[in-house]
């Protein structure tokens, strides 16, 4: 590995000049010293990243030019603040990252130790650690159970600017929460890059339901890097709906760290135009008796493209693991493209693991059936896609959440 101390590789992007970091940290001089050190440390690590190798398996099939940080232009000057929506409950801390740094920084002391998913976008992760200015912090005390979802909404910046944010969600033992995360654009006429780092940590017996809706405009870029730590007997269910972005890269890593934990990761993407969805996932079992189930469905119109790369990794100690991984792609146009890289690395023998990947077109008979009843082709396709997505939508729990997802999908078709 060659590492370069020179800044030359970063110089093409004007916002990453050597003294750029100094001016950024001056702006945030109010922060505690350990956080400033963490940012500086991340900046140094970023500068000493090895030169991009030509072939990196973690970027296989990906048109990297569309996703690299060379597209980052400048940091958002006055980003639209995130909107938080959740009732005040004793034992639950729910606030913006900045407010948490200000009021309860002791909650964040672990931040420098939090690992990213490490699935390729090292540069985005380090820049996120360095330049995160917004995000949310959600923490629930032991045994708190709240049915009503906590909502937060974030905005991709305008005028080709970049915004980095960090979300931290931490559930103490036996607490149960639902969270709805929405990503939108500040305005519809210009785009920017929103890079989101999420750290989720579930203690013993905790349960988290998460719904993520990504609908930034189609001039924007969306990066989403999340790592999820599941403690003993905890449960995490995720439903991501990816609709927006000219291009998006999402890296999701779930670590089944405690015995008997259960990790459900579902994702729906609906692409049109020249949208690109680059999805990388890992289900890493490091404890016995864990369960994980991953299902990524992509419906692709026009010239959109999806890349799914998944890995189930089972360590020798993780006996009695059940792990599944499925990728289903529906191609609705001759120029749509779906790449699949489902992977397994199994080092324990007492396991049930499988993966499957299918790519196909719309069933002509289904289409004919709808057309012959006078339904317009667009509507027919929409119905079929909704049907294709339905098995995941139904996992959303309440009727309200299900309707929310269906509406977003229908809306995207119009």
């Amino acid at each position: 590995m060659v590492s370069t101390p020179s800044h030359s590789k970063h110089m093409d992007s004007q916002f990453l000049t050597p003294d750029f970091f100094e001016s950024f940290s001056a702006k945030r001089s109010w922060e505690p010293g350990w956080l400033a050190d963490f940012r500086k440390d991340s900046w140094d690590k970023f500068l000493s990243l090895p030169v991009k190798k030509n072939k990196d398996e973690r970027w296989r099939f990906s048109p990297r030019a569309r996703l690299g940080f060379s597209n980052f232009d400048q940091l958002a000057e006055s980003p639209k603040p995130s909107i938080l929506n959740g009732q005040k409950i004793d034992g639950i801390l729910f606030d913006t990252l900045d407010q948490t740094i200000l009021n309860a920084p002791s909650n964040l002391l672990d931040l420098p130790n939090m690992q990213g998913p490490n699935l390729g976008a090292d540069d985005t992760f380090l820049l996120g650690c360095c330049f995160s200015e917004s995000g949310v912090f959600l923490k629930s005390e032991k045994g708190i159970i709240e049915k009503k979802p906590f909502k937060h909404c974030h905005f991709a910046p305008k005028n080709n600017q970049s915004l980095f944010q960090t979300n931290i969600i931490s559930l103490e033992p036996f607490s149960e929460l639902t969270i709805i995360e929405i990503f939108e654009s500040e305005d519809m006429d210009t785009g920017g890059t929103l890079s989101n780092l999420s750290h989720v940590k579930l203690a013993e017996g905790a349960k988290l339901n998460r719904i993520l809706i990504q609908k930034v405009n189609q001039l924007s870029t969306f990066n989403h890097l999340e790592s999820i730590q599941l403690g003993r007997n905890s449960e995490f269910t995720n439903i991501s709906l990816q609709l927006g972005g000219a291009q998006s890269r999402s890296e999701s890593k779930g670590v089944i760290a405690g015995e008997g934990a259960s990790f459900n990761n579902f994702s729906l993407s609906l692409g049109n135009g020249e949208q690109l969805f680059d999805q990388r996932t890992v289900q890493h079992h490091i404890s016995p008796h864990g369960k994980s189930n991953l299902l990524y469905k992509n419906a692709l119109l026009d010239e959109s493209k999806s890349i799914f790369s998944g890995l189930i990794k089972v360590d020798p100690i993780a006996q009695n693991t059940d792990a599944y991984q499925t990728n289903r792609n529906l191609l609705l146009s001759a120029n749509a493209e779906a790449d699949s890289l489902p992977g397994l690395e199994i080092l324990a023998n007492e396991v049930k693991c499988s993966h499957g990947a299918t790519t196909s077109k719309i069933d002509n008979q289904e289409l004919f059936y709808l057309l012959s009843r006078g339904i317009h082709r667009n509507v027919a396709e929409k119905l079929i896609v909704l049907g294709f997505f339905d098995e995941i939508i139904r996992e959303a729990g309440t009727q309200e959440n299900i309707e929310l997802l269906r509406d977003e999908i229908s809306h995207h078709f119009n």
Binding site: K53, K55, D56, E57, R60, F61, P316, Q319, N329, L331, L332, S333, A334, N335, A336, E337, A338, D339, S340, L341, P342, G343, L344, E345, I346, L347, A348, N349, E350, V351, K352, C353, S354, H355, G356, A357, T358, T359, S360, K361, I362
Partner: protein, 469 residues
Amino acid sequence: MIKPSNIEIDREKGNFHYPTSKYAFDAGIGLSEDVVKYISDVKKEDDWILDFRLKAHSIFEKKPMPTHWATKDLENIDFDVIRYYLAQGQKPSRTWEEVPDDIKNTFERLGIPEQERKFLAGVEAQFDSEAAYSHMKEDLEKQGVIFVGPTEGLRDHPEIFKKWFGKVIPSSDNKFSALNSAVFSGGSFIYVPPGVKLAQPLQAYFRINAENFGQFERTLIIADEGAEITYMEGCTAPKFETSTLHSAVVELVALKGAKIQYITVQNWSNNVYNLVTKRAMADEEAEVRWIDCNIGSRLTMKYPGVVLKGRKARGEVLSIALANDGQHQDTGAKMVHAANETSSNVIAKSVSIGEGRSSYRGLVQIPGHLKHCRNNTECDALLINSESQTDTYPAITIKGDDNSVQHEASVSKVSEEQIFYMQQRGLNEAEAMSLYVNGFVNDLIREFPMEYSVELKRLIDLEMEGSVG
């Protein structure tokens, strides 16, 4: 030959040593342009072949090891201590008495025909097939089938072989195809004329007075329009190699409506790196089938591929891999669809025993302008012991709204209930395990010719010994 590694595996098993200094045709150790020229010179090749070799040599020098995706174990190969050429007739020989008892035992248990044993053990440089197969040879000649080695093929029939040689797998395909292109010797060149359907499978050791197996063998099979051929390479008996690097290139060309079936059964001793490039080109309505069984070796990397170039072409890979202690079977398949209505099927089964590791790596490509293309891939892995490992890394690229693929992979271990059931009926645990594994691969083993499938079953029994308890 290989740098020491920290894995405590007996890599000397089957690693016979012979004094090689007394041979007249010896290219020495290490690889250089002079060695390449020397090989070409010994073989009295035409200039264009020498140019081909030299070009390949320079590609080999330039290409990096593919360690960005493949195992780091490749870095343990020391190219400077390998002997790249030993001429025919100068091959080491040994007497039957020198063959270790356990190998004789293995032959016995596998039920290898008496006649073949001496050849397989390296006692005789050639399998004495004159008597057994002379009738067949006559028959082949009558039908116009050409069945020769690469040297004779390129020298005596350039009009047939030159056109396709190095075209399905260009030297620059990968580092090891470049290496083979530079130093190849041995192998089979076969041409089957239009419409000729061979009833009997061809095997390398039918050929008389030629180099059969080599470290860097090169095979090119051309089935002309409507022709049919089954070719078998290797055998279930362990092969005892003096060399630790085996890197072959196999090219198949199936012209319109032709059918080629290529069967490999290999059982390498576990000090061997077996890095092989195999690819077929299938024209309109042609059918190519790779049936591949990999047992033994330290590291096998082999991904037979089919380029489906003509309408309605069909490609198939059936593969069985058995990885025991200290072995890594990195096998798979590549299906490149390049015409409408093409279909491909991949079924891969692997068994990891002890600390063995088996990997499946696949590639399926269907570009958007094609219609009605189909692929089906199934990979099943069986893990026997708690230290066994298995990986699956398929890569699937599909464009267009009129094609479909499905890929399915599963990993499982031997079901305790079933073992219990069999033990209840008087089988001991090892026997039960063998039966289970045989059942797991049975639907693929049935695709092998009868005598192979019988030997394979026995071989699995042998491999399973000592893996339980």
